[in-house]
Amino acid sequence: MRSLLKSASIVALVAGLAGPAAAETLGFSWPVNVGPLNPHLYSPNQMFAQVMVFEPLVKYQEDGSLAPWLASAWEISEDGRTYEFTLRDDVTFSNGEPFDAEAVVANFDAILANRERHAWLELTNQIQQVEVIDEHHVRLTLQDSYYPLLQDLSLPRPFRFVAPSQLIDGESAQGITAPIGTGPWVLADTRLGEYDHFVRNEHYWGEKPALEGVNISVIPDPNTRAIAFQTGGIDLIYGVDGPISPDTFQRFEQMGQFTTEVSDPIATQMLAINSQQEATRDQAVREAINHAIDKQTMVDTVFYGTQPTADALFSPTLPYADVPLAPYAFDPELARQLLEGAGWRLGDAEGVRQREGARLSTDLVYVGNDAVSKSMAEIIQADLARVGIETRLIGEEESSVYARQRDGRFGMIFNRTWGAPSDPHAFISSMRVPAHADYQAQLGLDDKADIDAMISDILTTTGEERRRELYTALLTRLHESAIYVPLTYTNAIAVARPELGPIPFGAMASEIPFERIAPQGQ
């Protein structure tokens, strides 16, 4: 390890990437600087870095449960509207300020002063009052019972805590003085366009990180990142959204000299089929599409086997998602039979089916400059052509694709779930919002109103058993409607020098658990 870090720091010094490189400092890279690290705001604050510095009251666990974190315990009133949190008494901010009930309330006040900005998150709309009970107790009062309260509190933002002295006039909407949190890392140094340097929080209340620091070079280009890793400029590649291309990952895997890991499923990448459009209104057509797409070939050729195929909208590893659903197996013959049975007959020379003079034709919308989406779209087009469905590919700019999602101008569109801890509750919640592809895709279903009512029930019911029943009913209904073609489960990848030991994965997609990386021999 010593020699690795020594050589790594020499390379870094020579390369000048790492700035103040020191022994036992991990070299990492990110496409942009981490931003001002305001825990209550969004971009340009980078989530993984906000999580390094700021902590939640409760922490999302890998199994989907919520564990005590800055709050050591909590009590929920009978009607589900009042939560009393007991705070840990051994926590201080990295500047020595105490983390107590006053600090919690000051942060909630700052967040709620900017309520409009967080309106997308249901909890901000539900909170009525946050008050100090005593030094280590806080009471949160809601308008209605809202079961995912703890999930929302565990999000990377906005419900995390900065030292109250850093708020500007008690608010954070216009910025904070400095990013002082309670987390295991402290931002030590930043150079615009070059690096951000974090050091271990020596006053951390929990288990202290084994690494002394993390140095994050700004590298936007995936190929440059791969080369920086290969030449020793950085020690770790980690990420969800293609920090390196799948084929580069496979190359590192085959080289055999590095640790390469793939996490459990994080989110689902799927195709949403629009039930409002002429051809895809037909249940049989949607089922046929589900049977006609060869996901395994897609995974093998586009993702080089780095992602598993998906059978359901949510991975069964998620809370409430372990519902017995029969997957739509890849079976082109069955797809053809379904279409024949629904009256779609092969007639014209182009091999496109017709029914009463209407061609079985739809479109597939994807982000045009995303090479991965494009390859997936082409595979789907070819698979569907084999059973007699014509697919027009529409590759457009990202914001045009968003606009089509919002107003339903698509036959089929790529979509993905939001990942832990938003899945499944926040994702199903959004199915009721017209601006989402899911709402538009489902709108042609006869029982769309019932589906929406079921979702509202799930979010407000206080009984665990009842909630589970409702989830099972909802997920079964959505599965049977064949509105979605689940394609793959996305996951995080990690490539590291073997001296770093096994690389742990975060429970949330947006978190990188540097504090749990323990270099071997220590």
Partner: protein, 314 residues
């Protein structure tokens, strides 16, 4: 001469105005919605309320012309707005990144001149012999190879396989070598061939034959009578190369992780970060116009026919 410079400088604001209008309206001709881009870059879900809020905040609810005039008014006070992606004022950030780009482009220019001039002279001196063929081959490769591909090949050879040079980042001279070579190769190839052609042309002229008849040594003839006259087209070409070199930094900076204005602009283009793209374009127009002006002044000074006719006219 002074009035010539003044006239050219007075043209600059007009050119900036035209460029700003062009880029402003062209960006907005596309199908994409700036409010949507803004929300996406701020990672806020694009609910109808959020979109409405963003439209008002960015002034997108007003007619396009009003938007342009509002933007222009602030721009005249050097306020180019706030980047959608970084939420920071645009101009200070661009100026922060500019020196790194000028350093890279400057070294590339030195490389272009420092290598192309000896190469061109060598090739002209040995017309149709081996050296000329070698220079032709180098120029052929240099002109044909895209700079980003050359960049990757250099990194593979010198960083990954040999380990001699750092693959990315900004630091000492070692960091400059590969990106500067990748940017400069095309310009220096063109320049070397241009100088060769120009020297061969001058060589055939009567004043050169006369110099030889006077019995001057061949080296002196080449230096004082051929080379100096052949340099004039090179000066013009340099004006264009400066644009090429700065344009080259756009992609090369991304590949070599060079913290310059080019890399910043490339991510702004990918993100459709309009305020950054607009300000970047104007900055580039200014640099391009000023560099060309300097080149024209040098040209006028170097060519007595222009200098004297200008003085005679005054």
């Amino acid at each position: 001469m002074a009035s010539f410079i003044l006239r050219r400088l007075l043209l600059l604001p007009l050119m900036l105005l035209a460029a700003s209008a062009l880029i402003f309206f062209m960006l907005r001709l596309g199908p994409s919605d700036p409010a949507m881009d803004y929300l996406r870059l701020s990672s806020v879900p694009p609910t109808p309320q959020a979109l409405e809020h963003a439209r008002i905040m960015l002034g997108l609810d007003k007619p396009l012309l009003v938007q342009y005039i509002t933007w222009l008014k602030s721009a005249l006070q050097l306020d180019f707005g706030v980047s959608y992606a970084t939420q920071r004022p645009v101009l200070p950030d661009l100026l922060y990144y500019l020196p790194a780009t000028l350093q890279l482009a400057g070294v590339a220019l030195l490389l272009t001149l420092g290598i192309s001039i000896p190469l061109g002279r060598w090739a002209a001196r040995h017309q149709d012999e081996a050296p000329d063929q070698w220079v032709r081959l180098i120029a052929f490769i240099g002109v044909s190879m895209p700079n980003f591909w050359l960049g990757f090949l250099l990194v593979l050879l010198f960083s990954v396989h040999l380990g001699w040079l750092p693959p990315m980042g900004r630091g000492g001279w070692a960091h400059l070598v590969m990106p500067a070579v990748a940017i400069a190769l095309m310009s220096l190839s063109i320049n070397a061939r241009l100088l060769r052609a120009s020297m061969l042309e001058v060589k055939g002229q009567r004043h050169v034959t006369y110099a030889r008849l006077r019995g001057l040594p061949e080296r002196h003839v080449e230096r004082s009578h051929v080379f100096r006259n052949a340099l004039l087209p090179i000066i013009t070409a340099v004006g264009m190369h400066i644009g090429e070199l700065i344009g080259g930094t756009l992609i090369i900076e991304s590949i070599f992780g060079w913290p310059g204005v080019g890399r910043f602009a490339v991510s702004a283009i990918f993100n459709r970060d309009y305020p950054v793209i607009q300000c970047f374009t104007l900055l580039m127009v200014t640099i391009f116009v000023v560099c060309n002006l300097i080149v024209d002044i040098i040209y006028a000074w170097a060519d007595p026919r222009i200098r004297l006719s200008a003085e005679g006219a005054e």
